[in-house]
C-alpha cells in the first residue's frame, strides 16, 4: 500500500514536470493554453491525492480552486482574450524550441539536485514533491523569459504559481488561509494583467513586449 501511495504521488508530480516541458514545446498560443489547462488539471489531481494521503480535507478546497479557476475559467478567458486581440495565429519565441528545452532540462536537473541535497531528512514523498515543484517553478520562469507575447508570459506566470501550489501541498500543515489568499492574489494579478494587456494593445497596437522597450528608448539593434 505504501508503494502505491508513493507511486501515484510520484506519477502526478512528475507528470506536472512533463506537462511543463510540453509547454516549452508549444509555440502556438491556443496550443499553449490547452496545455496550460492540462497542467492545472494534473495539479488538481495531485493536490487531491495529497489531500487523501495526508488526510487533510482542506486541501480538497485547494484542489477545487485549481480545478475551477485554473483549469476552466482562466484558460477560457485567455482564449477569449486572444480572439479579441486577434493574435491567435502568432508564433513568437525568443529562442528556438530546441535550446529552450535544453535549458529547461538543465533547470530540472538543477532543481532536483539542489532539493534532494537540502531536504535529506524529510520523508520521500515531500522531498520529491519539493524537487518537482521547484522544477515546475523554474520552468514557468523559463516560459516567461523565452516568450515575447504578453499572453504567453501570463501563462508562464500561472505555471509558476502552479509550482508554488504543488510545493505548498507537499509540505504538511500549510494553513488554508494562506492558500486561499495566494489563490486570490493570483486571480487579482490575473485581472490586473488582463486590463493591462488591453491597455498595451490600445497604445501600441500589439501585445509584443518589445514595443515597451522601444517606448522606454532602449531600442534593440
Amino acid at each position: 500500500m505504501i508503494g502505491s501511495v508513493f507511486d501515484i504521488a510520484h506519477m502526478l508530480a512528475g507528470g506536472l514536470v512533463l506537462v511543463s516541458m510540453m509547454m516549452l514545446y508549444q509555440d502556438r498560443l491556443y496550443a499553449l493554453l490547452n496545455v496550460f489547462a492540462l497542467h492545472s488539471l494534473v495539479l488538481t489531481l495531485s493536490v487531491a491525492w495529497q489531500a487523501l494521503i495526508q488526510d487533510a480535507p482542506h486541501l480538497f478546497v485547494t484542489a477545487a480552486i485549481a480545478l475551477v479557476f485554473k483549469t476552466i475559467i482562466i484558460p477560457v478567458v485567455l482564449h477569449r482574450m486572444i480572439r479579441q486581440l486577434g493574435i491567435h495565429r502568432e508564433i513568437e519565441t525568443v529562442v528556438g524550441v530546441g535550446p529552450t528545452m535544453l535549458v529547461g532540462l538543465g533547470l530540472v536537473a538543477l532543481a532536483t539536485v539542489v532539493m534532494l541535497r537540502v531536504t535529506s531528512s524529510a520523508d520521500p514523498i515531500a522531498r520529491e514533491d519539493l524537487a518537482f515543484a521547484l522544477s515546475v517553478l523554474l520552468l514557468g520562469l523559463l516560459i516567461m523569459v523565452t516568450r515575447r507575447n504578453a499572453v504567453s508570459q501570463v501563462v508562464g506566470f500561472m505555471t509558476l504559481e502552479n509550482g508554488l501550489v504543488l510545493a505548498a501541498t507537499g509540505a504538511k500543515g500549510m494553513p488554508l488561509v494562506v492558500e486561499i489568499s495566494v489563490a486570490f492574489s493570483i486571480l487579482i494579478a490575473f485581472i490586473v494583467i488582463g486590463v493591462f494587456l488591453f491597455r498595451i494593445r490600445e497604445r501600441f497596437d500589439t501585445v509584443d513586449v518589445r514595443a515597451l522597450d522601444d517606448f522606454k528608448g532602449r531600442r534593440r539593434k
Binding site: 502505491s4 510520484h10 506519477m11 520521500p124
Partner: protein, 318 residues
C-alpha cells in the same frame, strides 16, 4: 525433445511476425479509412499487393550497381531478424538471449544504412534527397532510442528484452514517471522511424515532403515487395516492442504449455490490433509537419529520453 520443441516455438515466432506484418498494415489502413468515412481496402489487401509485386518483372535502372539489387534482401533480412527476436507472445525462447535492445537498434541501423545507400545508388535527385532526409531523421532518432534504452536498462538492470519484460511484469516495478516519459519518447521515435504521419506520409508520392517513398522510388517487382514487407515488419516490430516493454501482460514464460501459448498469442493479437487502431486514430487527428519541424519533434524526444534518465536517478536517490 526439449530442444526440438524450443526450436519449434522459436520458428513459430519467426514465421508469425513475418506473416502478421502485412495484416497489421492492413488493419492500420482499414481503421484509417473508416475514420475518414471511407470503406477502405480489405484486410488482406497488403498480402495481395505483395503477391502481385512478386509476380511482376523487376525493372532496374541502367546504371544501378549490385548494391541496388542486394539492398532489398539485406534490408528485409535485418528487419526480420530484429522483429523475430522480440518477445511477442512468450518470453525466454531459445534465441531470446540475442534479443538485446542495443543489438536490435544496430540491426535496424544497418537496414537503414543500406536503404539510404540504395536510394543514392541510381543517382536520381529524389533518391538523394530522400536519403539525406532519412539520415537527418536517423541522427536524432537513434540517440533518443538509445537514451530510452538506457533508462529502461537502469530500471530493469538489463538490456535484454526478455529480462526487462519479466521484470516489468513483476511487482518490483511501480508507476514510475521516468517510465512514462520513456514511453512517450519511444512512441515519438517509433512514429518517426516508421515514417508515419507527423513526420512522413506513407500514402503519398508528393515530391516536396516524401522521405521514405523517395528512397524506394526506383524499386519495382520483387525488390519493392521485399522493401514493403520490411516496412510492415518494422511497424510490427515497434508495436511489439512497446507492447513487450510497457504492456507485458499475458506474456507467458517459455515451457508453460500449448494452452498458455494460445492465451499469449491472443493477447498479442489484441495488443497489435489496439496499437494499430491507436496509430490510425493519431494519424487521422494530426497534420503532417514540415520537414524542418522534424528536428524539433525528434529533439523533443531526445530531451524526454534525457529527462527520463535524469528522473530515474532522482527516484533512485530517495
Amino acid at each position: 525433445m526439449v530442444i526440438v520443441s524450443a526450436l519449434f516455438v522459436q520458428a513459430f515466432q519467426m514465421s508469425l511476425v513475418v506473416l502478421l506484418a502485412p495484416l497489421l498494415t492492413g488493419i492500420v489502413r482499414l481503421f484509417k479509412a473508416r475514420l475518414l468515412r471511407r470503406r477502405g481496402p480489405s484486410l488482406i489487401q497488403p498480402y495481395r499487393d505483395l503477391v502481385r509485386l512478386l509476380r511482376k518483372e523487376a525493372v532496374v535502372a541502367e546504371n544501378a550497381s549490385w548494391l541496388f539489387r542486394a539492398a532489398p534482401y539485406l534490408i528485409f533480412a535485418a528487419t526480420w531478424v530484429a522483429a523475430a527476436i522480440i518477445p511477442t507472445f512468450a518470453t525466454g525462447l531459445l534465441f531470446s538471449w540475442t534479443a538485446d535492445l542495443i543489438a536490435i537498434i544496430a540491426l535496424l541501423g544497418s537496414a537503414r544504412f543500406f536503404l539510404a545507400l540504395a536510394g543514392m545508388d541510381v543517382g536520381t535527385s529524389f533518391g538523394g534527397i530522400g536519403s539525406s532526409r532519412e539520415m537527418m531523421i536517423a541522427t536524432l532518432a537513434e540517440p533518443s532510442m538509445l537514451l530510452i534504452i538506457f533508462t529502461l536498462a537502469l530500471v530493469a538492470g538489463s538490456t535484454q528484452l526478455s529480462a526487462i519484460a519479466v521484470f516489468m511484469t513483476s511487482s518490483q516495478v511501480g508507476l514510475r514517471v521516468s517510465l512514462a516519459i520513456a514511453l512517450i519518447a519511444l512512441v515519438m521515435v517509433a512514429i518517426a522511424e516508421n515514417a508515419r504521419i507527423p513526420v512522413d506520409n506513407p500514402a503519398t508520392h508528393l515530391e516536396l515532403t516524401m522521405v521514405h517513398e523517395a528512397m524506394v522510388l526506383e524499386y519495382s517487382g520483387r525488390h519493392l515487395a521485399m522493401i514493403e514487407l520490411a516496412a510492415s515488419l518494422k511497424l510490427l516490430l515497434y508495436i511489439s516492442l512497446i507492447a513487450c516493454l510497457f504492456v507485458p501482460w499475458k506474456l507467458v514464460a517459455f515451457g508453460s504449455g500449448p494452452l498458455a501459448y494460445l492465451i499469449g498469442l491472443f493477447a498479442y493479437l489484441a495488443k497489435l490490433a489496439a496499437g494499430g487502431a491507436l496509430l490510425a486514430l493519431f494519424e487521422t487527428a494530426t497534420a503532417k509537419m514540415r520537414v524542418f519541424r522534424v528536428p524539433e519533434f525528434l529533439g523533443a524526444a531526445l530531451m524526454l529520453g534525457l529527462l527520463a534518465a535524469l528522473l530515474r536517478f532522482v527516484s533512485r536517490g530517495l
